[in-house]
Symmetry: C3
Subunit: 204 residues, 3 copies
């Protein structure tokens, strides 16, 4: 859980003399009520707290996209499903669906820790720009669950922040930001993205 | 800003006289201020609390999908809009748009309580697997509003959890998890899904 | 920031007589612990508070959509990428991708304050109805960041609420509701929507 509030020392207070017994008793009861009340608020029911300076989870992953070119069915991990329509020269209207391997290092051949499933499309006349929806699907002994990234992806910029909008399993109800940077582009065939994932809302 | 908490009275505290009356009075005022303060924090402004053991709303619905086959325009509730491209044999690239009736029981002919509007597509070479975005639209005397489900849907698994990422009206700002299970599949023509809906964040 | 907690005077407390020194000292320690505890809860870690009666940000924008018709490549801001399939007469299955200018007034020629990037599709047999996913991308000296709107858009209704599900930069982790109303429709060529944007969760 996100909250491990320690209040060990703050309870053995209020040493009172005989004179003050009754009043101190009342006060201590009141304070105890407070403690319990605030604890109930904050811990059992998990009051939501966000600290943008300290993600509750932070990790880096790499996503590998091998585009289908009619000859590489065995290796392809994504494919164009709608072709660009010729509005400008930056692929406006092209839609790509993918099921990409996700690894902890940059090696395409490393054992994937997740799949990235989703789609993106090109939507600008004046430059290469995509809009992307992408769910990371974890299904290993270490992690089970999903979270979904969705945002504009102005891919000509060195880094771009995309929203993480929800999740399930180990990532139930999570939210945060994923910073994309392009590791490598090999023509139309292959690209690799670095994902710097910062979750600010965690319940597992 | 969201919080304009005023704590005017909480400053003149704990001046004690030779009797305890004044001090006790001040302490009680302080404690009351605390109560009010915490209440303001937690209630009026609705401090967000999540209890994963106890959804704030929990209900089960069934979604009915009748695929358009060129001969059933009157009954069809969904249609393929982009055909699979032949990458593998599991419909990779096929996109389906739908406006499906949603009922409280399994009967297709029951009065719908909502429509499920959205799309899904197949995105795996090795098995049937979809990615889905689906908004439940309620527009009855009982419920008005929407919420949106979005996630990978590994449909060969008996149950799969999908994120609920937001809503409007009766479901404003809601979040949670929807567990899909396949009730029934009738070839390419019809399928029915059970949706076990657990909302953990509710404001209405 | 969202929290402007003022507690300036709350430290110079606890003037006590000799009799009550110890007890008052203990009480003051306790109260200070409380203050610190509540401050930690509410301020540093930014306990999440939602007030549906008072958005943390509220503004109105206008989105302009110029449909591509093969002859207006210079002006077009959106294009059909998948044609309707003929299920009914309300464009079922038509998919549109856009990169639309967003202005603070209704004038198409005003300097855009953002771009609206995303897609929508028609999904009903019985009336014009769309489902939309749309990211507002701000990249000016005033605002940098994004937020994403996603929901059903029953466009024949005078107003409709759509979920705002997340954001980045100036709008990091934001959520809320965007009320669409149609300002103007000029045949198939142009439409303008008014967006009444209410953010209920803000961290910047």
């Amino acid at each position: 859980g996100t909250s491990n509030l320690q209040m060990d020392n703050s309870t053995s207070l209020l040493v009172s003399t005989k004179h003050h017994n009754h009043m101190a008793h009342q006060i201590s009861k009141t304070l105890l009520s407070f403690f319990l009340f605030v604890l109930v608020l904050s811990d059992t029911v998990s009051s939501v707290r966000i600290n943008l300076n300290k993600p509750c989870k932070h990790f880096i992953l790499h996503i590998h996209n091998v585009a289908y070119d009619a000859d590489n069915a065995a290796n392809a991990t994504s494919s164009t499903v709608v072709n660009p329509l010729g509005l400008g020269t930056f692929d406006f209207g092209k839609i790509v669906i993918f099921d990409n391997p996700v690894t902890t290092d940059e090696n395409f051949l490393s054992e994937p820790v997740a799949r990235a499933q989703g789609f993106f499309f090109y939507n600008k006349k004046t430059t290469y720009n995509t809009w992307v929806a992408c769910t990371l699907v974890f299904n290993s002994t270490q992690h089970k669950g999903t979270f979904t990234i969705m945002d504009a992806n102005p891919m000509t910029q060195p880094t771009r922040d995309l929203s993480i909008i929800g999740g399930t399993g180990d990532f139930i109800m999570t939210r945060g930001v994923c910073t994309f940077s392009t590791d490598l582009i090999q023509g139309q065939k292959y690209f690799r993205l670095k994902m710097d994932i910062k979750l600010y809302e965690c319940y597992n």
